[in-house]
């Protein structure tokens, strides 16, 4: 039956919530199926035009529906991956962890970069000539500084005032909230609430 492979693509999206390696092999198979559907339709529609053989018409229509279905599956696959990438930008910031990066194809990496650019450009245009970072303070802040525990060796971190601190595993710090927030979301620091 037509459309089985396209369906497989979509059920893969449905089964796993995170971004899997781009399933190029399956996409190729779907495209092959579409190509053969198209070829058969071209042959049949030529026959209809030349011999006025209208009996072929229903088959052409059936294949056309199958073509549209396959197109929908592929577009939905690409679109939904893109949506997940967009969510990642807001969760993890402009640099993706290598585990996710390796699962992307070139076009997706390029898209992510241009999304980054657009977002950065927009955020720069906000506020009085300083720009405004929309990804900070996802929950209303109550204090300017927060106490954090470092759970991973991170290395040197330069604060806004030029001070450099060393983030080593199992050390405690009192740091400006805006600096910590992305690091906490990436799992490098841990918020110690009192």
């Amino acid at each position: 039956m037509y459309g089985r492979k396209g369906f497989k693509l979509i059920s893969e999206l449905d089964l796993y919530s995170d971004i899997l390696p781009f399933n190029e092999a399956l996409i190729k198979e779907v495209l092959q199926e579409m190509q053969s559907l198209y070829d058969a339709n071209v042959a049949n529609s030529n026959a209809i035009r030349n011999d006025n053989n209208m009996a072929l018409l229903p088959s052409v229509q059936l294949r056309h529906i199958a073509l549209k279905r396959n197109k929908r599956c592929i577009l939905a696959y690409i679109y939904n991956r893109m949506r997940k990438l967009k969510e990642l930008r807001w969760e993890l910031g402009s640099i993706l962890p290598p585990e996710i990066n390796t699962n992307l194809i070139n076009a997706e990496v390029q898209w992510f970069q241009s999304y980054n650019k657009s977002l950065a450009k927009y955020m720069r245009s906000l506020g009085e000539d300083h720009g405004f970072n929309l990804t900070t303070n996802m929950v209303p802040p109550k204090t300017l500084y927060v106490e954090v525990k470092c759970v991973e060796d991170f290395g040197k971190l330069e604060l806004d005032d030029g001070q450099v601190i060393l983030l080593k595993k199992n050390t405690y710090h009192l740091l400006p909230r805006s600096v910590c927030e992305p690091l906490i979301r990436q799992g490098i620091l841990e918020h110690k609430s009192t």
Binding site: L13, D18, S59, E99, S193
Partner: protein, 202 residues
């Protein structure tokens, strides 16, 4: 941050694509040349008039809606009178996901097949949802509820159940005045879990 879809079901909606894969039994009304292989029991090259086939919904619906219908369709039995009566009697005790994991979504498509039953199926879907909604709501508000529960629910109810559960947890947190804590992104946690699994595997 969740990036919402504009309207449901849209062209890219995963659930809509999944639910329209459901098989519908059709009868061929016009001969289809060269497509005999679509029916596995068929030996000839063409699909003959009167052959019974199982077409997925995405194929059956547009074929029926063509100017001269190529197929005539039969409504799946779970939307027919007998099953509607079961739901009318007591919708809460039925494991609806066993009937079909996309019971409501599929129903919204299937009802268009029959002019006669259009209103009745719509009404039946609405009543079923109404009477089960209370149950779903109850389950989601009880933190102790059985984790296997969500498997018993069809997709629409399952999503509501999970959303309800999350809302409950967030409410409890908020009541404890603990909303100010910064937390690790869910994605990072998942990545770490996978790394650990790999490590143990090696």
């Amino acid at each position: 941050m969740a990036c919402c879809q504009s309207y449901i079901p849209d062209y890219f909606a995963i659930t809509d694509i999944l639910s329209t894969e459901e098989r519908i039994s059709c009868k061929i009304e016009v001969e289809l040349p060269g497509l005999g292989f679509l029916d596995s029991s068929c030996q000839s090259e063409n699909l003959k008039v009167g052959t019974k086939v199982e077409f997925p919904l995405w194929l059956a619906e547009p074929l029926k809606n063509l100017q001269n219908s190529v197929v005539s369709v039969d409504i799946p039995k779970i939307y027919k009178e007998g099953y509607r009566e079961i739901l009318e009697a007591d919708a809460e005790v039925i494991v609806l996901s066993k009937w079909n994991p996309f019971y409501y979504e599929l129903g919204m498509h299937v009802r268009k097949f029959s002019d006669r039953d259009y209103e009745i199926i719509t009404e039946s879907l609405l009543q079923t949802f109404k009477s089960r909604f209370q149950l779903v709501m109850d389950w989601s508000q009880n933190a102790m509820s059985d984790p296997t529960l969500s498997i018993q629910l069809p997709r629409l109810e399952r999503d509501l159940f999970l959303i309800g559960q999350q809302a409950k947890i967030r409410l409890v947190e908020w009541l404890k005045m603990g909303t100010n804590e910064l937390v690790v992104s869910e994605i990072t946690t998942n990545l770490k879990k996978r790394k650990r699994e790999q490590y143990e595997f090696d």
